[in-house]
């Protein structure tokens, strides 16, 4: 490359560098985070389910996009507890499933208005989290996890038979009729014109608003005194107590806040499916949210959402692959490939936790750091070269 060529490209690199610097400053701001989330939420179903080529490769579909956002809300709230406060709850199915049932029962007996469903489901989850947190947080570490698991299983068995007159027992809560939003918009119908091309259904838009709201609230919590106190409790609980903080009440608040997120998600799950499976209270749901959060990266804001995406993608799309072939050929590598999706998920989980303990988000972060390092080195090299050229 001649010196003449190097000069303009050095200029470009410098402009790029300052743009990058500006971006690094903006990156942490609340407005930027929420704005970018909103944009991603808006284009996600298009890319996933409708865009040419991309969606063809991904094989995504609209209702899975909605489901990913719903579980995403759950995971963001769960990570406030697991990743930030360092409390491993193994009973969050109680809040997810409890809210789902509460929303469904309210829809059947009181009002099918989606807002009423979300509010009542979330309120139920918050009250339940308050009580279960109050009881479970008496003990620390593994005992806390076991207590949450035991309480959640109690709710599963209660829903299965003693409360079957309310929950419809083993069959799950059927016949939930979700009313129209504000009395005019049917959530399952498509949005007209460009909005429809991007978002798809009104239901997705409805869930999307809650998702962006959840991100905004969670981000604010992390930047509030609570965010700092939660991490302090995770790092050194005893010290937090001995600087004069009421650790117990902060832990209870972390538990209730994460219960509220699970409640919003659970209520939306009922609206999404117009049905509540008994499974939603089972302990495996509690396990799923732990796996999703850790897979994505516990202790990061967006990591758990990535974990949710990968988990649900493998569960719903990879599992439908009949035979794994070498691309563009008919050579079959593994027959009934989809049948082994649990195994695949387990392998992915083990590899991620082994190689990058901070999960998928950790991988992205490392790539970003590499890019920054590479970028600054390249800019420096070009700068020194352009200085030489000026002489």
């Amino acid at each position: 490359m001649s010196e003449k060529d190097a000069n303009p490209s050095a200029k470009d690199a410098l402009v790029g560098g300052s743009l990058f610097g500006r971006w690094e400053k903006l990156r942490g701001r609340e407005g930027t985070v929420v704005g970018i989330t909103a944009i991603l939420v808006a284009v996600f179903p298009y890319l996933f389910a409708r865009a040419p080529v991309v969606s063809g490769i991904l094989q995504g579909y609209q209702s899975l996009a909605t489901l990913i956002l719903i579980w995403g809300i759950f995971a963001i709230g769960f990570d406030l507890l697991l990743g930030y406060t360092g409390l491993l709850s193994f009973g969050h199915a109680a809040f997810w499933g409890g809210a789902a049932y509460a929303a469904g029962i309210v829809a059947k007996n009181v009002s099918g208005d989606p807002i009423v469903m979300v509010v009542s489901g979330t309120l139920f989850a918050v009250l339940l989290a308050w009580v279960l947190g109050f009881l479970s947080l008496r003990r620390g570490g593994i005992y806390f996890s076991i207590l949450t698991l035991a309480f959640a299983q109690m709710f599963y068995y209660m829903a299965a038979s003693p409360l079957a007159f309310l929950t419809n027992g083993e069959n799950g809560l059927t016949g939930v009729e979700v009313g129209s939003f504000l009395g005019v918009i049917h959530l399952e119908s498509d949005i007209p014109s460009v909005g429809g091309m991007l978002l798809g259904t009104w239901l997705y838009a409805f869930v999307g608003v809650f998702f962006v709201g959840a991100v905004a609230v969670a981000y604010r919590i992390l930047n509030s005194p609570y965010g700092m106190v939660f991490r302090a409790i995770r790092e050194n609980e005893q010290r937090a107590e001995f600087v004069g903080l009421n650790v117990w009440r902060y832990k209870l608040m972390a538990f209730i806040i994460s219960g509220a997120f699970a409640g919003i998600a659970g209520s939306l799950f009922t609206i999404h499916g117009a049905y509540v499976p008994l499974q939603s209270l089972f302990w495996t749901e509690s396990g799923d949210i732990v796996v999703m959060t850790v897979l994505g990266g516990a202790g990061s804001m967006f990591g758990p959402v990535l974990g949710v995406g990968l988990y649900l993608y493998i569960e719903n799309i990879v599992s439908t692959i009949q035979a794994l072939t070498i691309p563009f050929t008919d050579i079959v590598l593994i027959r009934d490939f989809g049948f082994y999706w649990h195994l695949l998920l387990g392998l992915v989980f083990v590899v991620v936790v082994w190689v990058v303990p901070d999960g998928l988000w950790g991988i992205l972060n490392r790539l970003r750091e590499l890019a920054v390092e590479f970028g600054s080195k390249a800019a420096e090299r070009l700068r020194s070269r352009s200085k030489g050229g000026g002489r």
């Binding site: 919590i221 930047n223 509030s224 700092m228 106190v229 600087v243 004069g244 903080l245 608040m253």
Partner: protein, 252 residues
């Protein structure tokens, strides 16, 4: 004014009497050191005062009110702060955040509902944290992650956290344990500077006699859980019982 007093304080672990009928008083503006051989019950006494342990019998009063029955964080809120024997810090938080946690507790109380309030608006907390880091000489390292500090600085931060709680009484459990001679020297300077600047009342548990004799107004000697002597450094130095029982007759 009497800041802290323990009355017939007893702590038994099974059959072992770790604290034996201790009557200790600490006046305001006084620097008291507690010394004694290993197993004399120094740490137990500190842990009783900070409410980490429940006494078997007896009473502990701070500013005239009994603190037996309070939670540890409530004792801190009353004005008793403790620096730990090991660097008990928040390793993955920055040095500034470490100080801010303590400042938050002292400025805004043990608990609040401000989970939707941005931290940037807590200017009082930031102010206290900055002043504290300045006084322990860590302000220029405020953005360092605490775990990356050298050991001596971690111990400084440990003392900083205790100071940021804005205590009326500071309990220091072997602040120089495990330190190199240089680190020990700078920690002693730090303690003396804190004593000058903040006019703080403190109780020091320490093995290093040089430190004890240089910074204490009064020394309390514990042996087998009970107080065997107390007095000014000169009195303790000349006390034969102490030399015999505890120092083994070594000339000081």
């Amino acid at each position: 004014m009497t800041l802290l007093e323990t009355e017939n304080l007893v702590k038994e672990f099974g059959g072992l009497v770790a604290t034996d009928d201790v009557n200790l008083t600490v006046e305001e503006d006084e620097r008291v050191s507690i010394i004694g051989p290993n197993g004399a019950g120094k740490s137990t006494l500190i842990n009783l005062i900070t409410r980490r342990l429940d006494p078997t019998s007896g009473d502990i009063r701070f500013k005239g009110e009994s603190i037996v029955g309070l939670e540890p964080h409530q004792v801190v809120q009353r004005g008793v702060s403790k620096s730990f024997q090991t660097a008990s810090i928040f390793p993955d938080l920055t040095v500034r955040e470490n100080a801010e946690i303590a400042a938050l507790a002292s400025e805004r109380g043990a608990f609040g509902f401000e989970f939707l309030k941005h931290r940037d608006s807590l200017s009082d907390v930031h102010g206290v944290a900055r002043d504290t880091l300045d006084s322990v000489g860590l302000l220029d390292r405020a953005d360092t992650v605490a775990t990356d500090l050298p050991y001596g600085d971690k111990r400084r931060l440990e003392i900083g956290i205790a100071l940021a709680s804005d205590p009326d009484l500071l309990l220091m459990d072997e602040p120089t344990a495990g330190m190199s001679p240089e680190e020990t020297k700078s920690t002693v300077e730090l303690i003396e500077q804190v004593k000058r600047d903040h006019g703080l009342t403190f109780v020091l548990v320490e093995h290093d006699m040089e430190i004890v004799f240089s910074i204490s107004d009064r020394i309390v000697v514990l042996s087998r859980g009970g107080i065997i002597a107390e007095g000014t450094p000169d009195e303790i130095r000349g006390n034969e019982a102490v030399q015999e029982a505890y120092l083994g007759g070594v000339e000081l």
